[in-house]
Symmetry: C2
Subunit: 131 residues, 2 copies
């Protein structure tokens, strides 16, 4: 199944507290992949990053990314969300707190950096749901 | 840890029978991500694809890919392997049989296409092992 919005059948893969993979493209042309935490905002996929991370530098240069999840209970069930990215400052950590909360973590116990936080929003342009 | 070869500490993530994520870059610039099965050939990551798959078309146009695994038992332990790709015909299905075997599957029970099989070899140029 391929469309440009998140299918109800696979939304659970982005709502469950499991890490998802995000891919950006580096200046040398190679995809860069890392594990991140996300929340859904209607039909968009939202995460919290910091300005200093390589993947954010990649997104500043090329605002295209893809999020991918393999169902931990069924390796043949996957969701790929390609989309275009917008980046906004998150000085009050609103997005960070929201994302952490979705994974059962409070800001007080978060070990990562709090400075230079931004909200990254991926608006789907193509979605492939398998399995 | 970042280097250009597979660290012993994380080789298990590519040797275990768990699906890994591969990213290529499409003509429109978005990463394309799918789940694949792989084997190691020394320091290279090897898989079997068919000519008709979009990811192979992407690799023909831009022979750069990245393989990524999240440890199913520890979501903070990940392995990212960026590399350059070579593609060779696999008319006798040698690579396909080898990859299937690593995941406990025999050719006779394999449901996928057998025609136009190629061996895709990813030679690492940058490896990031976390956790």
């Amino acid at each position: 199944m391929s469309e440009n919005s998140l299918p109800e059948s696979h939304r659970d893969l982005l709502e469950a507290p499991i890490p998802v993979t995000i891919a950006t493209v580096g200046s040398g042309g190679h995809p860069q992949l890392t594990a991140i935490w996300v929340v859904l905002d209607g039909g968009d996929v939202v995460t919290s990053l910091t300005e200093t991370r390589q993947k954010l530098k990649n997104l500043r240069a090329r605002p295209q990314a893809t999020v991918f999840v393999i169902d931990p209970n069924n390796p043949f069930r996957t969701l790929e969300v390609r989309g275009d990215v917008t980046i906004e400052p998150d000085p009050d950590l609103v997005t960070l707190v929201r994302v952490l909360g979705a994974y059962g973590t409070e800001l007080e116990s978060f070990q990562g950096p709090l400075e230079d936080r931004v909200t990254v929003t991926l608006r789907p342009t193509r979605v492939v749901a398998l399995g």
